[in-house]
Symmetry: none
Subunit: 209 residues, 2 copies
DNA sequence: GCAAATTAATGATTTATTCAAG
DNA sequence: CTTGAATAAATCATTAATTTGC
């Protein structure tokens, strides 16, 4: 609840002593590039160098660079947490008793979960994270990715995904037409569908060392 | 390499042998509705549920839903990004007409600060977990910081900038202009201005409370 | 009007980053 | 410092729109 509405600098005070640094596109581009290059906490010297360079594109001080990196780093971290927490929270709310994919129901250790699984790696915050979801989705992956052929053809990738159209998402989402055509069959192994042509090359990326 | 699937399967052919999913209007409608409701990266379970529901309107698999959300999210962001950039660009370029500010187009986590100072690198939550940063920031002034107050918890960082220079700043970043800039005054330039014009208001920044 | 040709959308894959646990 | 986990960005590929010549 911090009022940050510090003066509404009229859109005309560009050269004036604005209250804050106003990074230009070029400046941001360079900063992000540096960040991507691995710079997280630049040294004083680096900051000076960067500042010197960025000054070509507009007024800037060392502190701006310093803060930029600090904020960017912090923001990147929190971005994840908050993001995932946000929608989880939302989803959970509309989902009183979350359908925790019962671990025992899993076919075997041949995990066949979804590829997108969970979002939150490990929030860790003092919030009651939702381990259920983590487990539900986290189980997947790391199945077996045979086919050492690195080519583009992935034969039998992990067939994680769909167990079947089970479940009720939520009336709010689909109205009442939700057909609970889901038995209890659970994941009868990756029984595949009739089509049997389901290959999920989802997260197969592993080629790059 | 590819089969000649001359299957002339006009829109609405569920038995299609097409190589890729072709969503029906109903499916798209539901998906967009879910997206509007905030679902961005559905969990495995959600995907199954959604898929189940969407199957009423045509053949579909979990991966299709997964991809749909991925693509839709990415493209929405892309569109929005472009939009907001255009806005800022115009705004920064000059301040002629306050265009139709599209609230939805504003970047959510961009550090871009328009002349209006609308975006602030606000870390938000537990940003107090960076006490060192303060110190580091203060340290930037180095020799000139003749105002040794503040600092609640001083470890020993009161020295030079960062202790861990993560990342190498090389010429490849800026070319030769960098070296020339760093070969001398280092951080003296900003840290030591007599007029205090640029004296890092580091602590002021935070002092705002 | 209708198809071949061309362009715009968008489904499906691959690649690059990021944070953080070990 | 290395590696695991999980995207999001970038890219490839195929389908739908549309444009154009007849």
């Amino acid at each position: 609840m911090e009022e940050e509405k510090a003066v509404v600098c009229p859109s005309s005070c560009s050269t004036a002593a604005s209250s804050r640094w106003n990074p230009t596109k070029e400046q941001i581009g360079i900063l992000e590039g540096l960040y991507r290059q691995g710079i997280r906490t630049p040294t004083a010297e680096q900051i000076q160098q960067i500042t010197g360079k960025l000054r070509e594109f507009g007024a800037i001080e060392g502190k701006n660079v310093f803060y930029w990196f600090q904020n960017h780093k912090a923001r990147q971290r929190q971005k994840q947490k908050q993001e995932s927490f946000a929608y989880f929270s939302r989803l959970i709310h509309r989902h009183p008793p979350p359908p925790p994919l019962s671990p025992a129901a899993l076919p075997s250790n041949r995990v066949v979960c979804a590829p997108l699984c969970l979002k939150v790696p490990h929030v860790g915050l003092n919030d009651q994270s939702y381990p259920n979801l983590f487990l539900a989705g986290g189980a997947l992956q790391k199945a077996e990715i045979t086919a050492p052929e690195k080519t583009q053809q992935v034969h039998e990738t992990l067939k994680l995904f769909p167990l079947h159209p089970t479940g009720v998402l939520e009336e709010r989402y689909f109205g009442s037409s939700l057909t609970s055509a889901s038995s209890e069959t659970e994941c009868g192994e990756e029984g595949r569908n009739e089509e049997g042509k389901e290959s999920f090359p989802f997260f197969n990326f592993f080629g790059v060392q």
